[in-house]
Amino acid sequence: MIKLPSAQDLILKLENQIKLILDDSTCLIGIPTGGHLIIKQLCKNLGDHLNYGLIDGSFYRDDLDISGVKIKEKTSNINFDIENKKVILIDDVFYTGRTIRAAINELFDYGRPKEILLFVLVDRMKNELPIKPTYSAYELNNDKGDYINLVEERNILSFEVKNIGR
């Protein structure tokens, strides 16, 4: 089973990196479920004067007839204008890049941002598309194909790792 650093530490690293590039046009958009949990924490620390949103991307995936549509509790919710804005997409784990591809496609149906950046806690270094995170707080070099997921328990975020024998 893989060992990961503490999720809270990685979120702190991520937050410090975001602070370096924050400007008036920045909006933070999380990808449910992990990205939503991170956004909730960032909102507390960075302040609610910034624009926060969610983008789900489920309806833009390329695997409808392979894995079906997953109905998530949290779906897309962007109630501000992203036109010409600096959008920072936030997710817990970056894996194949397909989720991000879908999220970016959906994002463009809301408007044309000036720039889109991707900040994640963990990069599993297994991308199948020419898409990479702008910043990852941790790079996983010995990926065993385990299932990695950010979970919340009593307001504390941690990684749930499951061996699914891939």
Binding site: F59, L64, V69, K70, I71, E106, D109, Y110
Partner: protein, 318 residues
């Protein structure tokens, strides 16, 4: 009980022919997916690429405006291509059988058929004849079923009333000839509505009333007492026989929903109607437009429900 070949062994929706035979879980899945599609309907760009490359064929052997249009909009919002077959001018009028028409359209690459026909179970006959990767949606068959209407009506109730388990619902009008009523009753009882009343004259009640576990009222005022939901039905004049109702004026006097009736029902009761409305026959014009009326919401929600159904048909089982 309809046989259940509209759902595969592993619980995936393959065709939608009637609500009879659908589990509560499948209905709730459809509702939850429709909820996400509602949000898409309020965006500037109202389209998602889920059904890109798929072809939806609207095969309507009976008139329809709302159902056909909302199926067309739903399919287009999912990025599918849509073919509307105008039956009176098609090969049907040259004597081609329905199955031949369907098979020709499959040869042209159709993936989903929405079928409306005056003869009950026509969509089912088609569903049994087509291969595995073609899906049939019943868009209304005779007086048998209109499942997407039943789903969108119960979805509307969920949106306004949240829970089903504490509701009194009255379905008012021509139950006997109404496929909408049958689908509504079936959906509501599957979803656990404890009290479903049917209100209307005795001769517009179905013969199998007792099997359906409904309470019949032939007095509108008594039937509406304390109800949370009033579902009006259209008089199905095209399916009636002479003498089924005395006259439209008399019918309106006895069973038309009027302003005064709203005081009898629960103060927050919602008023529904599947359309098209016959103002002054089933419902007083003013009541159709009042605050408690959710008739136009039903139309909007109908698009989201039809998007959800089409997505579930094409999507792999989770």
């Amino acid at each position: 009980m309809a046989d259940n070949f509209q759902v595969t062994k592993d619980g995936k929706l393959k065709h939608l022919l009637s609500i009879d035979g659908l589990s509560k879980e499948i209905i709730i899945d459809i509702f939850n997916m429709a909820e996400s599609f509602l949000k898409i309907g309020s965006r500037d760009v109202k389209k998602v690429p889920l059904l890109r490359g798929k072809t939806v064929c609207n095969l309507f052997f009976e008139n329809s405006t709302r159902t056909r249009t909302t199926f067309e909009i739903a399919a287009k919002r999912l990025s599918a291509d849509v073919i509307n077959l105008d039956i009176p001018t098609s090969s049907q009028s040259k004597g081609e059988s329905i199955l031949d028409t369907v098979n020709n359209l499959i040869a042209m690459g159709a993936d989903i058929f929405v079928v409306r026909h005056g003869i009950p179970k026509t969509p089912e006959i088609i569903a049994k004849a087509v291969n595995n990767d073609v899906h049939i949606i019943n868009g209304g068959d005779g007086n048998h079923a209109h499942p997407t209407q039943g789903l969108l009506d119960s979805f509307t109730i969920r949106r306004f009333k949240k829970e089903f388990s504490n509701l009194k619902v009255a379905v008012v009008g021509d139950i006997k000839h109404s496929r909408v009523a049958r689908s509504e009753v079936c959906a509501l009882s599957t979803l656990g509505v404890p009290e479903i009343r049917v209100v209307g004259p005795d001769n517009l009640m179905p013969d199998d009333l007792d099997n359906l576990n409904l309470i019949h009222f032939n007095d509108l005022k008594k039937g509406l007492k304390d109800v949370d939901v009033i579902m009006m039905l259209r008089l199905q004049k095209e399916r009636m026989e002479d003498g089924d109702i005395p006259s439209e004026e008399d019918y309106f006097k006895q069973f038309g929903l009027k302003r005064d009736h709203l005081r009898i029902a629960h103060p927050d009761a919602i008023i529904m109607h599947p359309g098209p409305i016959n103002r002054g026959i089933e419902i007083e014009s003013e009541v159709a437009d009042c605050k408690q009326s959710v008739i136009l919401s039903q139309v909007t929600f109908g698009i989201a429900i039809r998007m959800a159904v089409m997505t579930m048909l094409i999507s792999k089982k989770l």
